[in-house]
Symmetry: C2
Subunit: 676 residues, 2 copies
C-alpha cells in the first residue's frame, strides 16, 4: 500500500499503532487516552514534498516528511493525581520521538468519559440527593444532570481540576425521551473534583430578577411549578407541523462537479485542496490552489469562546471554549442525507478514540456538496437587448457540532470567482436558568415562564495560513478616507484617498468599516501585469463587537485573542490555537495568538498567519426559544488583482432546464441565458 | 368587473384613461409624457379599507379610497422651453384633481426618448465629428455614444437641462454586435442642452496617471492602440466556456408553496402581502402580515446614489441617482426562466408608458420564487442521539435593473422564522475611462490596458414603513456596553449593560457595531406576555462606509440622505424618496429624508418611517473586469419578542428525498430529519 499523503489524517491502523507504541512506553501502568491524531509535519518538510507533488516529480523513493501521531493521555496510578502526558509517535520508527509531562498549571482537554463520571458522581452524591429533596418537583418529573466544563476558575480554585453540572427537571409523563427538559431549570450547580471524583460543593445561584441582589435566595420549593413545557420534537408539538410547505429538491442528474481521489484530494473546477478531520479542529482544509496557483496553505476554525454576562455567582464561570476545552471531535454530528445539506453529497468519516486509546471510525463527520447561490454576474446590452447571466455555484465543506444545549454549523465555501467564504451558523437551545415567577431581569430575557436566557457572546477565531502565489506574504491595510476640497488636488470635493499601510510587525488589528478598512494579503514579489499592483487576496474583517468583559476579568484574561479583529503573526510550526493550547479551566490565555503577536516579529514579506476574530453578542429574544433559528456570520476572502480578469467569466450561462413557470403561465424557449 | 384593490398598480386601461384625461386638459398642445403610475391613496383611507378587508367586512358598497393616477409630462410649444407638469387624475371622476407646473429649479426625470435624442444629437454634431477625426481610431472601429445623466451640475450650469455622453470605440471586425466596447474608452464627453437639442461643448478629460495634473492633455491620437479586447459574451471568449460544471436543478414536483390571487395578493405559508410594480421604485411590497398580524405597511427601495471619486474635470459630475434620475422603470430587465432564478417561478408584468403616454405592458419585470438556504434550526439530544433539523426556505421577490454599463439585483426575501431580508447585488461592467499606456492612477485601477476603472461608491436607501401590530410604533436603540468590575454589581467583571434609548424626535442615526447597536421597531402598546417587553422587529443597520465626498461638495449636498445609516421620520403621505423628488441634475437634496428629519417631529409611539442607508465603497479590482462578480449587501429585519416562541418551530423536518450520495456510497433510510 502506498504511503499516505503527509496531509492526510491518521488511519484506524495508524491510530491504533500510535496507541500501542505509547502503551509500550509505559509498561505496567494504566493509561487514560484523551486524543490521538496526526502530528502535522513541519511546514518546511511538507513544502518540499508539495513541490515534488505539484511538479509531478514525486516517486516512491522521494523523501517524505516523518509520519507522526500526537497522543494525549493520562498516566494513572503511582502518583496521587493522574499525570497528563503528551507524546509524539513516529509511526515508521514505531517509537516515541517526543514526550512531555504537562505541569499541573495546565488542564488537559476533557473527554466524554469524564462527563459520564461527573453524571454518575452527582447522582451518587448524598448531598445532591438532599438538595433535590428540598425541592418539591411535580409528580412524574426526573432530575437531569447536564455536564459542563468548569469555565473561568476563581483564584481559590488553584490548580484543582473541577467539573460543574447544570441541573434541569424533565417531565417524563409524555413517555418521550426527547421531551425538552431545558424548560425546567433547577438552581443547583454541583461541582466535582476530578481527582477524587467527589462532589466538593453544590452551588445555589439566585433566581431573582431586576432589583434583587446577586445572591438573595428567593426561590420557592415548588421550583418548576411556574415553568411551562417547550417542546421542539415534532410529535410533541401541540399543533403539529405546518402542512403547506411543498417539497423543494436539488437534483444533479450528471452527479456533482467535484471529485475526490487519493482519499482526501478534492478537485472542483479550477479549485484543488485536501480535506482532513481531527478531534481538535474538525474539518481542516490544506494546500488550497486555484488553477494551479497556491492560495492557502491551511484553513481552520482555531477556537471560540462563549462568555456569559450574568454577574450572579457562579454564572461568572460560564465561559466555554468549544474547540479547546474538549477537542470538539466527540461533539461532531453524524450528518444525514437530505437534512444537513441537499443535492449530491459526499461524506467524510473521521477517526476518534475511546479512553482505552482504541480508534473508532465516526461516520459522516463532514459533508461536501455544491449549492446554487443566485446570480453571479450579469450584463444586458441595452442596445441589442442581449443579456448574459451566470449562476453562482458554490462548493461547501460543512461540519456541525453539538455542545450540550447548543449547536454550531461551520462551512468552508469556495466559489467560481475564486472567492472563499467561511461561515458560522449558531443554532440549538439557548442556555437558561431558573427565574422566579413574574420577574424580569437585566441579565437576560424570560423566554419561557421560569426560564431566563442569559445574555452572552460568541467570539470565533478563524486561522488563515495564506500562500498567495508563494509563502512570503504581507498584510497591507487599505482604507478609503475623506479629503477636503482643495483647489489644486480636489477642486470639487469628490476625491477620496485610498491609503495603503503595510503591516510590518506581528500585531493585533481592528476592523474600521467606516473607513472601509480591508486587509489585503499580498505577495509583494509578484506584480499583476495589468494593474501593476502586487497579487493578493482581500480579507474584510466582519465589524462585530469584541469581548465585552472587563479587561481585568478572568473571562477576558483567558480569551486575549478576542481583543482584536485581526491578528498577523509570523508562521510557527504547530501554533494553531488562538486561545492557547490549554483552554480548559485556564486562568489566562497562554501560548495563544496574543503571545504570538507579542513576539514582535517581522511579518513583512514573510511566512505569516492571519487570524480573523468575529462574534455575535447574543441578548436572546423569545424567538430563539426553544430552538433558535440560525444566526449567520461570514468571513469573506476574495482575490484582488490576483488574476487578470473575472475568474468566473468562463462559467457557462446555461439555463436551468429544470425550472418551470407556475401553472398556467407559458414557458419560454432556448437553453441559454444569453438572451437575444 | 370588480374595483381594483387600492394597493394594486394601474392597469393598461387605467393608465391610458389617465393619459386621455390629461390630454383633454391641454387641448391643442403637444404633450411629452414621462411617467404615469398609481397615486397611492392617503394611508388613512387605505387603513380604513384594509380594516374592512382583513375583518372580512368588505362589501361592494364599502367605501373605497379614490382611485388616482399620477401623470408626469411636459407641455411643449407655446413657451420657449418645455414646461414640466405633474397631475393627479381621479380615474372614477375622470378629471384632474391636482395639477402643478414645476418650477425650472427642478428637473423632471429623464426618459429613454431623451437619451435617444442625445445620441442623435451627438452623432449629428460637426464639432463632435471634428473631435473624433482628430483621433486615429484603428481600421474597423466605430464610435459608440453612451448617454448619461449630467450628474452633479456646476454653479455656472444654472437651471439649464443638460445631458452628457461618454464615448467608446467598438471593434466591429468580429461582426458581433455585443463585442465589448467598454474596453476602448475615448476621452471625449459631449454635453447637450436639452432645450435646444444642441451640443454646447465637448469636454476632453485628462488621460494621465499618478503625478500628472488634473487637466494635462497627454493622450496620443492613437487613443485605443494600447487597449485590448475584453469580451464577455461566450462566443467571443478566447478559450470558450469551462466544460466541467455539471447541471444543478431545483425541482418542485408539487409546485410552489405560494399562491397569487386577486392579481397581486401573495400568500406563502403564514406570510401575506401585496406586490406591485411602478416605474419609479420597481417592486414594492405592501401590507405585509404574518399569521394575520401586521408587520410592514410598505417596503421599497427608495433611492441610491453612485458618486465617482476621480477629481479630474468633468468626472466630478459623475454621480447617478439610479432610481430618482429616470425612474428605473425603463431600466428593468425582462427576467428569464432558469437564469435569473431557479425552481418554479411566478413572473409579474409591469405597465410603463411611451412618450405619447400610451401604456405598454412589460413582461417579467419581477420574479417570485422559493429557495433553500441551508439549515434553519437544529438540535441533537446527545443523550438519545436524536437530531431534529429543519431547512431554511425563503421566498424571494426579485427585480433587476440595467443602467448603461451597470446592473443591480434587488430582492425582498421572507423566511419561515418571520424574518425579512432585503438584498442588493451589484454586478455589470465597471465604469472605465481612458488612461495613457503604462500609467497607473491614484483615482482607480487599470483593469485592462488603457482602461481605468474609477473609484466610486454605491449608497442605497431602503424605505421601511412599519406596522408592528399597528401603526403607532417607536424606534428604540439598543446597545451592549462594557462595565468595569464593581464589588456590588459586577464582582467578576463578566457583566455588560444592555442599554435602551427610545428615539423621540425625527433624526438621522448611525450604526455602531462595536456597541452592538441595533434598532428595535417596537409597539409600546403591545407587551409580550412572556418576556414582558414590547413586541417588535429588530433592524441591524449594515455598518458600511457613508458618503466620502466633502460635505461642502455638490456630490454630498445632493445626497444628504447618505450622511446617516438610519433615519427615523414621522409618516407623511407621498414622502417616498430619500434623495428628494427631483434628483436629476439636482443642486441639493430637497424634500428628501434629511428635510423630513429636520421637521423635528415627535416619533415616539407615532406612525413612523425608518430609512436604512448602506453602501459599498468600490475601489475596483481587476477581477471586476469585464463583468464583475456580484457584491452583496443585505438588510436584516427580524422579530424580537414579537412572537412567543421560534415561529419556525412547526416547520416539518422532512428529508429531501431528491438528495443522493456520491456514486458508490450507500444511502441511508427514513424520510425524516429527526434522526433516531
Amino acid at each position: 500500500m502506498a504511503a499516505p499523503h503527509p496531509l492526510s489524517a491518521l488511519s484506524i491502523e495508524e491510530t491504533n499503532l500510535a496507541r500501542d507504541v505509547v502503551r509500550a512506553a509505559h509498561p505496567g501502568t494504566v493509561l487514560f487516552f484523551r486524543q490521538n491524531y496526526l502530528w502535522e509535519p513541519p511546514k518546511a518538510d511538507v513544502l518540499r514534498f508539495l513541490e515534488l507533488e505539484h511538479s509531478r516529480q514525486l516517486t516512491p523513493s522521494s523523501p517524505r516528511p516523518a509520519r507522526c501521531a500526537q497522543v494525549f493521555y493520562d498516566v494513572i496510578g503511582g502518583q496521587a493525581k493522574a499525570q497528563y502526558n503528551e507524546a509524539v509517535v513516529d509511526l515508521n520508527l514505531r517509537t516515541v520521538v517526543d514526550h512531555k509531562v504537562i505541569g499541573t498549571e495546565h488542564q488537559s482537554s476533557l473527554t466524554t468519559k469524564e462527563f459520564e463520571e461527573l453524571v454518575e458522581c452527582v447522582q451518587a452524591s448524598a448531598l445532591f440527593q438532599q438538595k433535590v429533596s428540598e425541592l418539591k418537583l411535580p409528580e412524574g418529573f426526573e432530575v437531569i444532570v447536564e455536564p459542563w466544563p468548569y469555565g473561568a476558575p476563581d483564584i481559590e480554585d488553584g490548580d484543582n481540576r473541577y467539573f460543574q453540572a447544570l441541573m434541569f427537571a424533565r417531565d417524563t409523563r409524555s413517555g418521550n425521551p426527547d421531551s425538552n427538559f431545558y424548560a425546567y431549570p433547577l438552581p443547583l450547580i454541583p461541582v466535582m473534583d476530578a481527582a477524587t471524583k467527589t462532589i466538593v460543593r453544590i452551588e445555589e445561584p439566585a433566581t431573582g430578577g431586576r432589583g434583587d441582589s446577586l445572591t438573595a435566595k428567593t426561590h420557592k420549593p415548588e421550583i418548576v411549578d411556574h415553568c411551562l413545557e417547550s417542546e421542539y420534537v415534532p410529535e410533541l408539538l401541540p399543533g403539529g407541523v405546518r402542512k403547506d410547505l411543498k417539497p423543494l429538491t436539488v437534483v444533479q442528474p450528471e452527479g456533482p462537479s467535484f471529485s475526490i481521489t487519493d482519499g482526501n484530494l478534492l478537485k472542483w473546477q479550477k479549485w484543488r485542496m485536501r480535506v482532513t478531520f481531527n478531534s481538535r479542529e474538525g474539518a481542516v482544509v490544506h494546500d488550497v490552489r486555484y488553477d494551479g496557483r497556491p492560495v492557502m496553505y491551511r484553513l481552520s476554525i482555531s477556537d471560540m469562546t462563549v462568555p456569559y454576562a450574568d454577574p450572579r455567582p457562579p454564572y461568572h464561570r460560564k465561559q466555554a471554549f468549544d474547540f479547546g476545552d474538549g477537542g470538539l471531535g466527540h461533539c461532531v454530528n453524524n450528518l444525514t442525507l437530505g437534512c444537513d445539506c441537499l443535492g449530491v453529497i459526499k461524506y467524510f468519516d473521521g477517526v476518534l478514540i475511546n479512553s482505552s486509546g482504541d480508534a473508532e471510525e465516526t461516520k459522516n463527520v463532514i459533508c461536501l456538496h455544491e449549492q446554487d447561490n443566485g446570480i453571479n454576474w450579469k450584463h444586458t446590452n441595452w442596445r441589442t437587448g442581449r443579456a448574459v447571466v451566470t449562476r453562482r455555484r458554490e462548493l461547501v465543506i460543512q461540519f456541525i457540532i453539538t455542545l450540550a444545549n447548543y449547536e454550531y454549523i461551520f462551512a468552508f465555501k469556495f466559489d467560481q470567482s475564486a472567492g472563499i467564504n467561511i461561515e458560522a451558523r449558531a443554532t440549538g437551545i439557548v442556555s437558561v436558568v431558573n427565574i422566579d415567577q413574574g420577574k424580569t431581569s437585566p441579565w437576560g430575557n424570560v423566554v419561557s415562564p421560569g426560564a431566563l436566557a442569559q445574555n452572552h457572546q460568541h467570539v470565533f477565531c478563524i486561522r488563515v495560513d495564506p500562500s498567495i502565489d508563494g509563502h512570503e506574504n504581507t498584510v497591507v491595510q487599505e482604507e478609503s478616507l475623506p479629503l477636503r476640497i482643495d483647489q489644486r488636488t480636489n477642486p470639487k470635493g469628490n476625491l477620496y484617498e485610498v491609503r495603503h499601510t503595510p503591516i510590518t510587525t506581528s500585531a493585533g488589528l481592528d476592523a474600521a468599516p467606516f473607513n472601509n478598512r480591508v486587509f489585503k494579503i499580498q505577495n509583494l514579489n509578484k506584480i499583476n501585469p495589468i494593474t501593476q499592483r502586487p497579487v493578493g487576496y482581500k480579507i474584510i474583517p466582519p465589524p462585530t463587537q469584541l469581548l465585552l468583559a472587563d479587561p481585568n476579568s478572568r473571562q477576558a484574561q483567558r480569551a486575549l485573542f478576542a481583543k482584536h479583529h485581526l491578528w498577523v503573526t509570523k508562521y510557527k510550526d504547530h501554533e494553531f490555537f488562538a486561545g492557547g493550547r490549554y483552554t480548559l479551566q485556564s486562568k489566562r490565555e497562554v501560548g495563544g495568538v496574543s503571545d504570538a503577536a507579542d513576539r514582535n516579529e517581522d511579518v513583512l514579506n514573510q511566512d505569516i498567519v492571519v487570524w480573523s476574530v468575529f462574534g455575535l453578542t447574543h441578548n436572546p429574544r423569545i424567538e430563539d426559544w426553544p430552538v433558535m433559528p440560525v444566526e449567520m456570520l461570514n468571513l469573506s476572502i476574495t482575490p484582488t488583482d490576483f488574476f487578470t480578469k473575472n475568474p468566473a467569466l468562463d462559467v457557462p450561462s446555461d439555463k436551468d432546464l429544470g425550472s418551470q413557470l407556475t401553472a398556467g403561465a407559458s414557458t419560454n424557449a432556448g437553453s441559454s441565458c444569453c438572451k437575444l
